[in-house]
């Protein structure tokens, strides 16, 4: 648990950070809250030559409104996300899911951007941002680009960010009026989700008008339960929701580890999708 030696840079602003990343090529890693990177370093699973600590860049923190979107700085901590009035009002799902992340100590250090850029399918927030149809804004030497969440999560621990790009903000369409719920299943409070389901439901006349369902830890990336989303359209009661949830594991490739087999994860996805959607739809 002793990390290998590395160089350390602490840029004062985003431009300086991007220059540091560009100069280091493929050998740099960004240090945000450190809750994922530091364990990797200590286990000697990552050997960066340069660690770029973006913790002092004030412009990366905070939440603001931009029309129909909410814009959250990448370095906003989980703790600040949970307490932010704009997030609570316009992105309740994110606030609810973030409150289930790890423990208070981790939530005070860990950041939204760090957890998304880490692209761990077992993390809670990737599936949430995916379910919310969020966008991720990256800044590189050539300027800024916006990446839809559907394209951001490429593979296990691999995002669409280029080595010289820094994730600077997360844009979430406001979900005012939508019901939401994050159903997390884990063995102990501090453990990662075995499976998690993020549900957003817009109701019309007591029926599900539109549903979005994100899946945590059901493949190498966060996933949308597309078949369930389609089947939910028009669902008017708990039985219809339960039937729709039966297809929650379609087109998923859940992994095997000490906590669960793929078969059990698929089963959990169906049960948890039913529960999450019922709760989000107020039918629970």
């Amino acid at each position: 648990m002793i990390p290998p030696a590395f160089e350390y840079a602490r840029p004062a602003d985003v431009d300086e950070a991007v220059r540091a990343l560009a100069d280091a090529g493929e050998e740099a890693k960004v240090l945000a809250g450190g809750q994922s990177l530091l364990p990797l370093l200590r286990l000697r699973l990552a050997f960066p030559e340069l660690v770029v600590d973006v913790g002092r860049i004030a412009e990366l923190r905070g939440v603001r409104e931009d029309g129909d979107s909410l814009v959250i700085g990448a370095m906003t901590t989980h703790h600040d996300v949970i307490r932010d009035p704009l997030v609570r009002r316009h992105a309740g799902l994110l606030a609810a899911a973030t409150a289930t992340v790890a423990d208070p100590a981790v939530r005070h250090r860990g950041t939204l951007g760090g957890s998304l850029a880490h692209a761990d399918p077992a993390g809670d927030l990737p599936a949430v941002v995916l379910a919310m149809d969020g966008e991720l804004v990256a800044q590189g030497p050539a300027g800024r680009r916006t990446i839809p969440a559907r394209q951001f999560f490429v593979d296990y621990l691999q995002s669409a960010l280029e080595p010289d790009e820094l994730l600077v903000e997360v844009r979430l369409p406001k979900t005012d009026g939508w019901g939401f719920h994050y159903e997390k299943f884990h063995r102990v409070a501090q453990a990662w989700a075995i499976v998690g389901v993020a549900a957003l439901v817009r109701r019309d006349n007591g029926r599900v008008a539109e549903a979005r369902v994100g899946l945590t830890n059901m493949g190498t990336t966060p996933l949308r339960a597309t078949a369930t989303e389609e089947a939910l359209a028009g669902a008017g009661d708990a039985d219809a929701v339960a039937r729709a949830a039966e297809s929650a594991a379609v087109a998923t490739q859940p992994s095997r580890d000490t906590s669960a087999s793929p078969e059990y994860r698929a089963h959990l996805a169906r049960v948890l999708a039913k529960r999450a959607v019922l709760a989000a739809a107020g039918m629970g």
Binding site: L43, R187, V188, A189, W192, S261
Partner: protein
């Protein structure tokens, strides 16, 4: 004692230790700084089993900051085999156990080479430069396959993986009991391997004095005294030249009841380099290198009459020793061997223990050490028997337990339980739990076919602890005695130093020993300090494990204090010009009967003894006193634990809804400390039932190698505990105490699993293997419904 002075024993004193611990003014081994300190890092085998063909440490020497590097062969000279102090049978197979491997590695984590460097980072980096050529050998992982003919051997020179067979047979022949019994049940239970998780990882610092050949070894250990003797033997450093200090030690749970290779290696490297050396394990290194606990297959058969009367018990254990025998590895199941009959009367008992070598981390003591395993098996099968007979599980126990009027009672296993009241503890627990109401709710949920089922688990237990009568240890072939020592020093100003041979690592001995001494001496609690954990300052002791410290060590403190009073009485009588018989001693004051103004406090007597200006002729000028206690018997705490769980049959998730325990640990010295011990014990026992397991893959690699995969529960995962007590004093010591360190761990595991099975029994489930993970529970429900 008068009404004005509150007795210390029984008082809920906040711990003296805590102000220091919670403000960080502690002296952990890793905090120790010495001039010229070198940092030791250890290269460990990445394979469970392999021949070492070649080790080249030279490239490491070229790394920055590196001072020396050694292979196993380099250090072999002057390092003997690590000791096993408990060869349980005459013909036990005792393999050689080099502190650092030389020719073969036998578990993933076996030390292969070491580096010492000027800082910890340089040492860790340099390990990567060491070249080792291995020829992989097949791992030995399955306990039954390991005993087959022509199988792979962990120790090829021994010709077998069978370490020992230890039989016990008492009472009527079990075969004849089986023939006439109305009911026999046979079950197989698995005690998964557990990894102890002391808050402070292990660490060692060795400081050599080259000129005099003296060594001071600080270690995060439970056993500084035993360690000193054993390391003297292993390293050849004369015992009187080796001082061992256990500074602040952050927990052990048995994992620091050990003589570790790293301690011997650090001594050897300090001897070689002439420099002080420090080694501190990381958590994941400790998961490989610190001994594990449990790890056995239990075949248990019970015979009973239709009315529930137990007739006999037959138990066969296959126990995973791991790759080597460490300090008391073979003895752990023997500590459990006498406890399978539990609190019950029966006429026949047969047991056989078979120790088996595997290519995994060695096993050894872990909180409860053999007794949790025994309690689990008997309490699980009692529930199965109750179900078979259609009896309430509490009622079945009531029909078989030893009645309170029957004590002292000699069990079928040959132990004499001195005292107990199982009826009282059980009645109190049932009332607190609201057993009948919960049963009604359970029936209602079952009737409705609720997807969330309610289950009630009961576990009654007793344990043999307070280790131990030395003659019994001799009969069990344990290499040492079980006495404990205490010295009380009365300082000139009237303050008191209690020197104890116990070695606390979180238990609160400083507080409790102060309470005991303060009561006998009649001095303020605050005037007592306790010295421990240093073979120079507290030279005599047998250390801390097996819930022994209060029962044996606390009793020694009591007796030593009584001796101080008797010595002081002679001097007080002289000073007060009275005869000893005319002196009263109350609340620390000697007074002459009938002349209340003629008085001397014991603290004044201490000063008079210091000056020695006016002592009786011929009196040795000290009132200090020493006492050693060798107990006549074990002590037998007991209790009744009740657990209610809700099991979500859709997901397999178990939630503990309520937990009630009523423990009888005898007389209580400090209720706060007892409460803390029970809470911690429950957490660890529940963790075995639901969360923890050392998982190996089919190549013998530890898969649950970090705390991300080895799930230790924390506060949000545990229910609120309702704890209460009955107090039936032990008759084997003057304090009436029984020990509380292991009780919670022993009782809670079967209570939780019994509750889970009870919840699912209507669905056809008869057992769930530990840990009862959500997936295992879900699978059990699925398979039962097929």
């Amino acid at each position: 004692m008068s009404d004005t002075v509150e007795r210390e024993v029984g008082r809920a004193r906040p711990r003296k230790e805590d102000a220091r611990l919670v403000t960080g003014q502690t002296n952990w081994t890793d905090n120790i700084a010495v001039n010229g300190l070198l940092h030791l890092a250890i290269l460990r085998s990445p394979m469970a089993h392999a021949r070492i063909d070649h080790v080249n440490v030279t490239p490491a020497l070229e790394r920055p900051g590196v001072v020396a590097a050694f292979s196993g062969a380099d250090l072999a000279e002057g390092l003997g085999s690590l000791p096993c102090a408990w060869p349980v049978t005459e013909d036990i197979v005792l393999p050689d156990h080099p502190p650092i491997a030389t020719t073969e590695v036998r578990y993933a984590g076996d030390p292969v080479a070491v580096v010492v460097a000027r800082d910890r980072y340089a040492a860790a980096d340099a390990l990567e430069a060491i070249e080792v050529d291995y020829t992989p050998l097949p791992p030995v992982l399955d306990l039954e396959a390991a005993l087959a003919e022509d199988t792979v051997l962990v120790h090829s020179d021994k010709g077998t993986n069978r370490c020992y067979d230890w039989p016990l047979k008492t009472g009527e022949d079990f075969e004849s009991v089986r023939q006439r019994a109305d009911v026999t049940l046979k079950r197989r239970y698995h005690q998964q391997r557990l990894i102890p998780n002391a808050m402070e990882p292990r660490g060692v610092v060795v400081t050599p004095l080259a000129a005099s050949g003296e060594y001071t070894l600080h270690s995060s250990t439970q056993i500084p005294h035993i360690l000193r003797i054993m390391l003297a033997v292993v390293t050849g450093i004369p015992e009187h030249k080796l001082r061992v200090i256990a500074p602040d030690v952050g927990g052990g749970f048995g994992s620091k009841l050990q003589v570790y290779g790293e301690e011997a290696i650090a001594l050897a490297v300090a001897r070689r380099t002439g420099r002080p050396v420090k080694w501190t394990e990381s958590r994941s290194e400790g998961y490989l290198a610190t001994h594990h606990g449990r790890g056995m297959i239990q075949d248990i058969e019970i015979a009973a009459n239709r009315d529930g009367t137990l007739l006999g018990l037959k138990v066969d254990l296959l126990v995973d020793m791991g790759a080597y025998l460490m300090l008391v590895t073979p003895g752990i199941p023997i500590l459990g061997a006498f406890m399978y009959p539990g609190i019950y009367k029966m006429g026949s008992y047969e047991l056989n223990v078979t120790g088996v070598f595997t290519t995994r981390t060695p096993t050894d003591a872990y909180r409860g050490a053999g007794r949790p395993e025994a309690t689990y098996a008997i309490e699980r099968i009692m529930d199965e028997l109750a179900a078979e007979l259609g009896l309430d599980p509490v009622e079945l126990r009531r029909r078989n337990w030893i009645g309170h009027e029957e004590f002292p009672y000699t069990t079928i296993a040959g132990l004499t339980y001195d005292s107990g009241n199982y009826e009282a503890a059980t009645e109190k627990a049932l009332a607190l739990f609201d057993y009948d109401k919960l049963r009604a709710e359970q029936a209602d949920r079952n009737h409705r076919g609720d997807s969330v089922r309610l289950g009630l688990g009961v576990s009654t237990y007793t344990e043999m602890c307070g280790l131990a009568p030395s003659r019994v240890l001799r009969d069990l072939r344990y290499a040492a005695g079980g006495w404990e020592a205490a010295t009380i020093r009365m300082l000139p100003t009237g303050k008191v130093e209690v020197v104890t041979g116990t070695s606390p690592h979180g238990q609160g001995h400083v507080t409790c020993w102060s309470q005991i001494a303060a009561d006998v001496l009649g001095v303020p609690f605050e005037d007592v300090e306790v010295v421990h954990g240093d073979t120079q300052a507290a030279p005599q002791g047998m250390d801390t494990y097996g819930s022994r410290s209060l029962v044996v060590g606390g009793t020694a403190v009591h007796h030593a204090a009584v001796k101080v009073v008797e010595k002081a009485r002679k001097i007080a009588a002289h000073l007060l010009e009275a005869s000893e018989q005319d002196l009263e001693f109350t609340d620390g004051v000697f007074s002459v009967k009938g002349s209340p103004d003629a008085r001397k406090t014991i603290q004044e007597v201490a000063f008079e003894t210091f000056t020695s200006h006016d002592l009786p002729d011929g009196l040795v000028p000290t009132i200090n006193a020493e006492h050693l206690v060798d107990p006549d018997n074990f002590s037998y705490p007991h209790g009744t634990h009740l657990c209610a769980v809700e099991v979500d049959t859709e997901t397999g998730q178990t939630r503990i809804r309520s937990y009630v325990c009523v423990d009888d640990v005898g007389r209580v010295v400090n209720p706060l400390i007892v409460e803390g011990q029970v809470h911690g014990g429950l957490a660890q026992g529940i963790a075995q039932a639901l969360y923890e397991e050392a998982v190996y893959d089919d190549q013998g690699n530890l898969v649950s190698g970090t705390m991300a995969d080895y799930l230790v529960p924390s506060a949000p995962d545990l229910p609120e505990f309702t704890t209460d007590r009955t107090e039936t004093p032990a008759t084997s010591n003057p304090l009436g105490v029984k020990g509380v360190g292991e009780a919670g761990t022993i009782a809670s595991t079967p209570a939780v699993v019994n509750a889970i099975v009870d919840a699912l029994r209507p669905l056809g489930v008869r057992d769930v293997r530990m840990p009862c993970t959500p997936e295992r529970v879900w699978q059990a429900v699925r398979e039962a419904s097929r």
